[in-house]
Amino acid sequence: MKALVTVMPKPSVLDPQGAAAAEAIRHHGLEKVGRVRIGKVIELELPDGAPEALLHEISRDLLSNPVIEDYELEIVEK
């Protein structure tokens, strides 16, 4: 199985990278682009049956920092 952890900056945290990207995108011809936010995706290859609770713990404690980020965990069985 596979897990996809998406980590996004909290709305209250300033995201200068996102702002810079928005600027560049406008220059690139998409004047009307709205807010741009940049986060991380972490893709984990996992042994089948890896405990979901542990995955949440890892996503919360290691892969993201609750003070500034929110995470989403998606498990892709295959």
């Binding site: 900056p9 209250s12 945290v13 300033l14 200068p16 990278q17 810079a20 290691l62 892969l63 920092n65 003070v67 500034i68």
Partner: protein, 234 residues
Amino acid sequence: MKFSVLQFPGSNCDQDCVHVLNAMPGASANFVWHKDSSLGGCDAVVVPGGFSYGDYLRCGAIARFSPIMQAVKEFAASGGPVIGICNGFQILCESGLLPGALVRNRGLHFICEHVWLRVESSDSQFTNAIPTGRLLNIPIAHGEGCYFADDATLERLNQNGQILLRYTDAEGVDSESGNPNGSRENIAGIRNEAGNVFGLMPHPERACDPLLGSTDGLLIFESMIGQAAEVAAA
């Protein structure tokens, strides 16, 4: 005062800290390896700057889980003084020993330069040798030194006088132009509520030699050493 200077894979200011501390009267410093689980009977801990674990994931995110950090938590809980410099500050925040977090500089660039800092309170074991309001000239060198904490936390920090250092311009005003990285309220250094854990982005160890342009960094280490002497005397 016996300092233990932590060494994580990727630490790179560890040797500088040991060099400076060993040259100070009343101080001696040793390295402590991240895989150790004991601090080796020291009086104070230095979490030095650098790029622990390459700063991968987030600055300090992986170092936080090293065996030695368990010992540091216990040491701090028992009231032992801990100072975290630059990456060390980031590690202390990640470990929950200090509130808030450090994020990417507003300008997106790594910045290495001398900055002005205002000592917000001399009522701490890290600043007691420095009059409140005194300006310090100490260098910064970081890409992710923008201090963030939510409003509630900031209010607490202010109420408890936990903010020890603010970035200012040359006139000592904590202005936008004096804020190198976009930190909230120009915060450069804070202590924990108990007062024994201190984190700062600037590098005091780089301001301890006239040949390097400033000796203001000594004042912070002298505060710690003086404090220890008093405690010992009492």
